[in-house]
């Protein structure tokens, strides 16, 4: 990931004002291009020759206006493309592509489970400042020994989503809640959170922990209030390491979890699902341990209910969720490798 999320941060206001923005997942691109419907034709006509991370400005009917690649690609596509857009007639701007909509079946696996619950998560590299956890600033990054090879974006939070099925999230609500009662969180949820979501995705594509790499892990809920809403405290810890001996482990996260959950029986829904994991992480990124900070350094990961129903809130938890094996493994993290 480059500075400013491939340059999109720098042009976000311009995009918001002038465009309808579409994020094309690389895996969906592959499936879309294989369909013979209008979606596939549109995509094939609007590929940028560079491939990879790139941007294309196009008309609704699929006439490519401009493209750009890499960190400056968004600005390049916008600057050139918007000029070209202004040259079009009203009719050209509003024309739709011929043909019928054809969605590839793989899109289904990239759709949240029906009746399920979505949490959004932010993972952020932190520092200790006078014993307190604090955000890393751009000024801090000037110390290249503490932050080797870091781009400013590594000090920003990385965003991910968590999916629970309807049966899973309902398991968190006691049938007859009694104040003071503590019970374990469903194993499937515990293992999913530990394996897929207590990871450091701040440097780019995150890895996952295997079942064996969960050296210890517990997660419980305690009922603190039963009416008019059910308030619960989530508490737990997980030690996740690549070696059974944490001292020898190339990568690890020693996390403590704390959370506040509120279930509203009238709405039959959680109205609060705030969880924080904090602890020492080591090992850098998942492509050879780049950007590794000296020693063990704090990593914070927060979870909360999504606030909207937009594309960001519906992004699948895994980049390759379109494939059957990762999809099944995600929803059976306590059983499958």
């Amino acid at each position: 990931m480059q500075d400013g999320r491939f340059g999109v941060n720098q042009v976000a206001p311009l995009v918001k004002e002038n465009c309808v923005a579409v994020a094309i997942n690389g895996h969906m691109l592959y499936w879309l291009a294989k369909t013979d419907g209008a979606d596939g034709e549109f995509i094939k006509a609007n590929r940028h020759p560079s491939g990879g991370n790139c941007f294309v400005l196009t008309t609704p009917s699929g006439t490519k206006l401009a493209g750009g690649n890499g960190g400056g690609g968004a600005r390049e596509a916008l600057n050139s493309g918007l000029k070209n857009w202004k040259l079009l007639t009203d009719e050209e701007r509003k024309a739709l592509p011929p043909g019928k909509e054809v969605k590839p079946p793989e899109a289904e696996r990239c759709t949240p489970p029906p009746g399920g619950l979505i949490l959004r998560s932010f993972a952020r590299n932190l520092k200790k400042d006078g014993g307190e956890l604090a955000r890393i600033t751009r000024e801090d990054l000037k110390d290249r020994e503490l932050y080797p090879g870091w781009a400013p974006v590594y000090a920003e939070p990385a965003h991910f989503n968590v999916w629970f099925t309807e049966a899973e999230w309902k398991s968190l609500v006691p049938a007859e809640p009694r104040k003071g009662v503590t019970f374990p969180v469903l194993d499937a949820i515990q293992k999913r959170l530990f394996r897929y979501h207590l990871v450091n995705g701040t440097f780019g594509l995150p890895g996952t922990w295997s079942r064996e790499q969960i050296r210890t892990g517990t997660l419980t809920l305690t009922v603190e209030e039963v009416a008019p809403v059910v308030r619960m405290r989530l508490q737990g810890a997980a030690l996740l390491t690549t070696d059974a001996d944490p001292v020898k482990a190339q990568r690890g996260y020693d996390a403590r979890l704390d959370g506040r959950l509120t279930y509203d029986p009238q709405k039959k829904a959680f109205t609060r699902f705030d969880v924080v994991a904090t602890g020492d992480y080591w090992g850098g990124d998942y492509e050879g341990g780049r950007f590794k900070r000296p020693g063990r350094t704090p990593l914070g990961i927060s979870f909360e209910l999504v606030r909207d129903d937009n594309a960001i809130d519906r992004v699948p938890p895994l980049v390759h969720m379109d494939r059957e094996q990762p999809y099944r493994a995600y929803f059976a993290a306590e059983k499958l490798r």
Partner: protein, 91 residues
């Protein structure tokens, strides 16, 4: 002049003007909560200058059809952001 030719000329003009687009002010800082748990929770969230890409109302690649209909209705072009992974999530 046909569409392709007009686009070609405009591209040359636009490249000459690269970098001239103004950057509007970024978002405002949120108020720090009093509860230590809330304070910790908020520490991980994007700050006022972080993750500006999240302020854009992105549409998903699993619904291209809706995106081009919206673009035609609003009279706007589509900006397609391609990534080997997921632009809005893991990359």
């Amino acid at each position: 002049m046909d569409l392709a030719k007009r686009i070609g000329i405009a591209t040359v003009l636009a490249v000459a003007g690269l970098g001239l687009l103004a950057q509007p002010a970024l978002g405002e800082a949120t108020k720090a909560p009093a509860d230590p748990f809330d304070k910790l929770h908020q520490l991980m969230a994007p700050g006022p200058n972080d993750s500006q890409w999240m302020q854009v109302p992105w549409m998903s690649s699993s619904n291209i059809y809706a995106a081009w209909k919206k673009a035609a209705e609003e009279g706007k072009p589509l900006l397609l952001w391609y990534m080997a992974g997921e632009p809005l999530g893991t990359c």
